[in-house]
């Protein structure tokens, strides 16, 4: 916040910084940011819920993100999502009960030439198959 001189227009920048430090934005964080920047709480909350990138829930220990861009879709990303949902017993956007694994989808990570793409804890894996994905999930659940 200081970097941007507590400017009101820096709301999104500030929220990015908070989310990258804590992994998500809880009520206290949003309230604190809104107060510090003298932005109405409604506006801050509106911004947080408007943009997909901000999360109100804490992420799991590991995150698997399946790219759902067009190129990945053509090459069967929806099958991958269904496989992962079945394996983990959760729907996309949710985290397993013990807070172990989050299953997310992304709107294109820009690695379309290697579709379908899956991000395992932020690391890009191209040309992913259902078996490879299950293997990765197994590795995580063993830990």
């Amino acid at each position: 916040m200081r970097k941007n001189g507590f400017a009101r227009y820096a709301l999104i920048e500030t929220l990015h910084t908070v989310q990258s430090s804590f992994g998500y934005l809880d009520d206290d964080a949003i309230r604190f940011v809104a107060n510090s920047l003298r932005v109405p709480l409604s506006q801050a909350y509106g911004v947080v819920t408007f943009y997909h990138y901000f999360s109100l829930k804490p992420p799991g220990k590991h995150t698997m993100t399946v790219c759902a861009g067009t190129a990945c879709y053509i090459k069967g990303a929806d099958k991958l999502i269904a496989t992962a949902e079945k394996r983990l017993g959760i729907a996309q956007g949710q985290t397993t009960k013990g807070g172990e694994i989050s299953l997310m989808t992304a709107r294109c990570v820009g690695a379309c030439s290697r579709a379908p793409v899956v991000l395992c804890d932020g690391e890009v894996n191209g040309e992913m198959s259902g078996e490879q994905m299950i293997a990765q999930l197994e590795r995580w659940s063993v830990e």
Binding site: L11, V39, T70, G110
Partner: protein
């Protein structure tokens, strides 16, 4: 910084590189990096040190044919190696000065022959984190020439003369936009770069920002000089962390070299750029929504006019262009408007970068002169559809574009021809579909995208896309009637004509174009309850599984 000083830097860089006999360039773009390019680079550095040869190992931006990654190009011979693993590093270094390694060498001359590189001329040749590499390839020369030898009016005139049109998709004449902002009154003006590449299936702007960030900065600085702005913003998606860090480095280096900041080149011109992060909203690619997002608000578009050129950021005149548009500026200023005007087709000048993906042999980034026939891109550059499948359609323009059927491969790729075919140029995504894709399902995918990305401000878009999605889902699972199809067509027109911004106005395009060329597939789903491509699960009541 003066022109002489720039030349001095370029000279010293060339002298530095002359010390080496060979240059080994490793592509470090996302696609190659995800296949172990970093390990490969380390192995190459080690092998080069051990061999005692004078070898420079350089990391570069995207070389293009991503499906062959990780890619390595050895200069000065220009030998291209594909699928190079860290274990191969020794063999590559050992071959320097002798015969190339046969099992790694790839011949993609057909892939490259039809391409003309303007925007991507440096990608694959420079280290994106080294400003001196860029200067050594005539970087910032255009900015200095403009500042020292041209009037702002002269710069605008040159851009107008080139016939460059906006590369973000709309195709608005860039020169006209610039002159509007230049003529607008006001002491404070802004220059904004749209790097919110939300179109799924496109990654041209990412590659340009990551592979050649200084080119975007130079283009923006020239634009600022031409329109009289002193402050710039680059709006980048938060999903592109590498692009953000490369741009941050590039901005820092440019400031250190006195190419940004106050009194640039000893003139009275002051200009600096800030990076703004997006947060995952497709609608922010729309200009008024993007400006709202820079101001720290929700990215909801507003009615136009007034256009941003008159009243943009904080109510000031604002010039807003796409990454690729800015990347075209420096070469136009350097080589003249005529040079650019002579490339391309009738009303679409210059070159365009496309991200060629989907069911095609050579996926990756290509740059072609506009007017090139679609079949040349698919069959020659792309190498055709693999696995003995039959080409069905080519999707351009992302969720705002349409599908061009295989029978229309003869059309030239230009703004007008694509528009006439029911699609749009868009930002440059080109997704190839073969007979395993169901066109109804594809249309449903895009409408779902537009439905979730609709900002909700105007009703035709918010409610219309949701209803279209319901209708398409019904068609996909075989519960629709012919009346539903009629309703869908009707709804398309309503959403197209009544929506507030570009997102809503173009959202029906994927449905309209598939209805136009693949209506039989819709009818097949409705009447015969079967999916010709075998994608849709007709038995499943609600959820459509692929």
């Amino acid at each position: 910084m003066t022109l002489e000083e720039l030349e001095q830097i370029a000279k010293s860089v060339h002298q530095e590189y002359e010390k080496y006999d060979y240059e080994v360039n490793v592509c470090m773009d996302l696609a190659c990096a995800s296949q172990g390019a970093e390990k490969l680079r380390e192995a190459l550095v080690q092998a080069a040190e051990a061999s005692g040869k004078k070898v420079l190992v350089r990391r570069t931006g995207c070389m293009g044919p991503c499906s062959s990654g990780p890619l390595v190009r050895v200069d000065p011979e220009e030998t291209l190696y594909h699928h190079v693993k860290a274990e191969n590093a020794g063999a590559v270094v050992a071959s320097l000065g002798g015969e190339p390694v046969p099992e790694l060498q790839c011949d993609l001359s057909e892939h490259f022959d039809k391409q003309v590189r303007v925007v991507l001329e440096n990608a694959g040749h420079i280290d994106p984190e080294k400003i001196d590499d860029y200067i050594a390839r005539d970087g910032y020369k255009a900015l200095m020439t403009a500042l020292l030898e041209m009037t702002p009016y002269g710069v605008v005139h040159r851009i107008t003369e080139s016939g460059l049109r906006g590369r973000g998709g709309g195709g608005y004449p860039t020169g006209l936009k610039w002159s509007t902002v230049a003529k607008a009154s006001g002491d404070m003006k802004y220059v904004v770069c749209n790097g919110d590449e939300g179109d799924p299936g496109a990654f041209m702007d990412r590659s340009v920002m990551e592979g050649d960030p200084h080119r975007v900065i130079e283009g923006m600085a020239i634009a600022a000089y031409a329109v009289g702005a002193s402050k710039g913003f680059i709006y980048v998606r938060a999903e592109y962390p590498v692009a953000v860090s490369r741009l941050t480095t590039a901005l820092r280096d440019a400031r250190r070299r006195g190419l940004l900041g106050s009194a640039i080149g000893g003139t009275t011109f002051n200009f600096d750029i800030e990076i703004r992060l997006g947060a995952g909203a497709f609608v922010c690619g729309e200009e008024t929504a993007l400006l709202a997002s820079i101001e720290g608000r929700r990215g909801a578009p507003r009615t136009r006019p007034p256009y941003p050129a008159v009243s943009g950021l904080w109510g000031k005149p604002t010039l807003l262009n796409n990454v690729e548009t800015y990347a075209n500026i420096a070469p136009i200023v350097r080589n003249g408007g005529k040079w650019f005007f002579n490339m391309g087709s009738d009303r679409s000048k210059g070159t365009k970068v496309f991200a060629l993906t989907g069911r095609i042999t050579n996926t990756g980034l290509i740059e072609v002169p506009l007017g090139i026939k679609l079949w040349e891109i698919i069959d020659v550059i792309g190498g055709g559809v693999p696995g003995g499948h039959k080409l069905k359609a080519i999707q351009t323009g992302g969720p705002s574009g349409g599908c061009i059927p295989a029978e229309m491969l003869g059309i030239g790729v230009s703004y007008d021809a694509l528009m006439a075919a029911g699609s749009i140029m868009g930002s440059g995504g080109m997704i190839v579909m073969d007979d395993t894709s169901c066109m109804v399902n594809v249309a449903r995918f895009f409408i779902e995208f537009c439905m979730t990305e609709s900002c909700g401000k105007c009703i035709p878009c918010r409610a219309g896309t949701a209803q279209m999605f319901t209708l398409l889902t019904r068609i996909c699972n075989g519960t629709a009637t012919m009346d539903d199809l009629e309703l869908l067509e009707d709804l398309c027109i309503t959403v197209k004509e009544a929506s507030l911004c570009g997102l809503g106005q173009t959202a029906p395009n994927p449905v309209l174009s598939t209805l136009k060329y693949f209506k039989n597939e819709y009818i097949e789903h409705i009447v015969h309850k079967r999916c010709p491509a075998g994608v849709c699960n007709i038995e499943a009541p609600v959820e459509v599984l692929a």
